[in-house]
């Protein structure tokens, strides 16, 4: 017997979030960044606890001290990288290489930390992916993908998602992932077509406008072209990225199951484009102040287009043995906001 579809929802509001965000920001500044770990916990607790599914909230249990340790390691690594890259490039590159080699390990610890510290109805999530597979999925495959001019990129994306979802648990129940590699290629192909069309039209326009006058372009024309390329970059990404996110998230979640329960994700490319486009302009016009409001708008949209299709009662999940993980991973992955949720 099938149960009714349960939609995710966000019951918080952006003005509450703004207050929490700005107070946390000033406390972080006043404590020279140390409070940022506590701020992160409070911010995530606000977001998790206001995320509802079937009448219950999620919760976040990360401890600030664990996050602070991770942040310190991440800052030391990235600061030494960027400083030495400018002062002594050889040493800088060596540090960069070391960071690249540790990164997959940090991805795993970060996933473990994040999932273990997330709960729903009092049951913890968990992650049991091996470090070895992480090196294959987050280091070897991306390198192979770059070497093949990104022909392997959709395959790499598929493998990394399969690795993440197949190794995640909720209590004693396992997540599973059954999207095909071909379906990833299909989405990437359409995105590629869009980019080629936009960039091609732009290049043709430039060519026709300045035909025959290449050898002595006035400064203003070159300025216009450079500004045009920048605008094109923004517009292409503002139009193509939301389409890509919507399609790929739908694909990923529609092929993810938790035990016998399935997920339904029906984000619209148009709806998401509107959110991201308007957020972009509002952030630009408010010189960044709108950022927390923008974050909530985007989160709310994503959550409201995700639903769980239970196969039986949600009451039947059972807790698993609890385990401990270090916080180091999650922070190194976050200092540049590497979005591994895509």
């Amino acid at each position: 017997m099938s149960e009714q579809e349960q939609r995710f929802s966000f019951i918080g509001n952006s003005s509450d979030y703004f207050v929490i965000w700005i107070v946390n920001l000033i406390l972080t500044i006043l404590t020279l960044g140390i409070y940022s770990a506590w701020a992160k916990v409070r911010r995530l607790q606000y977001l998790y606890r206001n995320t509802r599914l079937a009448g219950s909230s999620f919760d976040y249990h990360g401890t600030p001290i664990a996050i602070l340790k991770g942040r310190l390691i991440a800052i030391v690594l990235f600061a030494s990288y960027s400083i030495f890259l400018q002062l002594m490039p050889a040493l800088g590159l060596a540090i960069g290489l070391i960071i690249a080699l540790i990164m997959p390990y940090f991805f795993v610890t970060s996933l473990r930390f994040r999932l273990y510290n997330s709960s729903y109805r009092g049951l913890r999530f968990g992650f049991s992916g091996s470090v070895k597979s992480a090196y294959i999925n987050f280091l070897l495959l991306p390198i192979a993908s770059a070497l093949t001019l990104f022909i392997l990129a959709p395959y790499t994306h598929h493998r990394s998602k399969a690795y993440q979802h197949n190794n995640s648990h909720f209590g004693q129940s396992n997540f599973s992932f059954d999207a095909t590699i071909a379906s990833f290629y299909k989405i990437y192909f359409f995105v590629f077509l869009q980019i080629v069309t936009v960039v091609g039209l732009f290049a043709l326009g430039i060519y026709l406008m300045f035909q025959g006058s290449w050898s002595n372009l006035p400064k203003m024309a070159i300025f216009a072209i450079v500004a045009g390329v920048y605008l094109l970059l923004i517009f292409t990404s503002l139009l193509v990225i939301p389409y890509f996110i919507a399609r790929i998230q739908n694909l990923i979640w529609n092929h993810t199951a938790l035990g016998e329960h399935r997920f339904i994700c029906n984000m619209g490319a148009r709806g998401l484009t509107w959110i991201i486009l308007s957020n972009f302009f509002l952030i630009a016009m408010t010189m960044g102040i709108f950022k927390p409001f923008a974050d909530i708008r985007l989160l709310r949209y994503k959550l409201e287009h995700l639903a769980l299709l239970p196969s039986d009662s949600l009451d039947n999940f059972i807790a698993s043995e609890k385990q401990h993980v270090s916080a180091t991973g999650t922070e190194s992955a976050e200092i540049f906001d590497v979005d591994i949720s895509l």
């Binding site: 009448g55 400018q86 002595n216 400064k219």
Partner: protein
Amino acid sequence: MRNISALYYDGQSARQEAVTLSIHNGKILLQGDQLEREFDLDKITISAKLGSTPRLIHLLDGGHCEVDDHLGFDAMLDESGVSPPTLISRLENSWHYALAATLLTISFVLAMFYWGLPYIANMAAERVPDTLSLTIDEQVLDTLDDGLAEETQLSAKRQAGLSARFERLRKKNERPLAHLEFRDSDEIGANAFALPGGTIIITDQLVELAHNDEEILAVLAHELGHVKERHPLRQLLQSSVIGLSMTWYFGDISSLLAIAPTVMLETSYSRNFERRADLYAVTLLRRNGIKPGRLADILERLENDHTGHQSKHEAYSPIFDLFSTHPNTDERIRILRHANTTK
């Protein structure tokens, strides 16, 4: 006796159970259809208020309760005299503090941009050992010689003559220590620039563009100003901090948005450095009996050279100039001309 409704989870399964909560005699009582439990108030943790977020009560046995009835819950806690709101949650639940925090943050960011960061970068730049900055110079020169620039076409005599006049600009052993490097480069065009370790590179194209040696010395005096105040290192440090902060703040997609303001902020720093270097040049030139207007003369010609249609490297240099570190040249020329007429 006040009763409020809540949801109870035992921590063993995902089963959701509606319960009523009440407090009496230092104990909290949970009553549901199939359960009745009691906990000492000092052995449970109640989550701090966080906006309108559901309140969580963590019980000793791993279970917890979710409460949506904020008013009722606060009143119940009040009546039984437990858990006053923590300082942080008081801050987070007030619009007054939020407004204050917003203003404080904006002032802090502005203060950091105008005073803090330049001050810190200056202190840090002073502490970078000379050997290290010289290593940077060598690396930049190596990169230049890898294709951007050729060996100079100037005769050894001409080079020696210019170097000698450059040395005489300053008193013997006067800081900063600096030396000249000549290069020929159509790509870079007429230009001179200072590196962190005191190396000043001057292109043949600039020597060619100058109408007399005093103009060349004026440019070199300006570059000496950069070296003296360690502008190259400071610019490097300041740009890194601005770039990192932008990436951190905007994150994912909006980092594209961050390119324009980052370039603008960095340009504003370098504009200031140009003004400072001009000031230094004016003093140094006057001391050597050279009119500061010489710098204005060659600046004007440089500007025309970079903008003009007749230049042979026009296809490249305008793009350089677009994000160039020498904006507002007109204003600089005006100031220098003014310095020329006043004593």
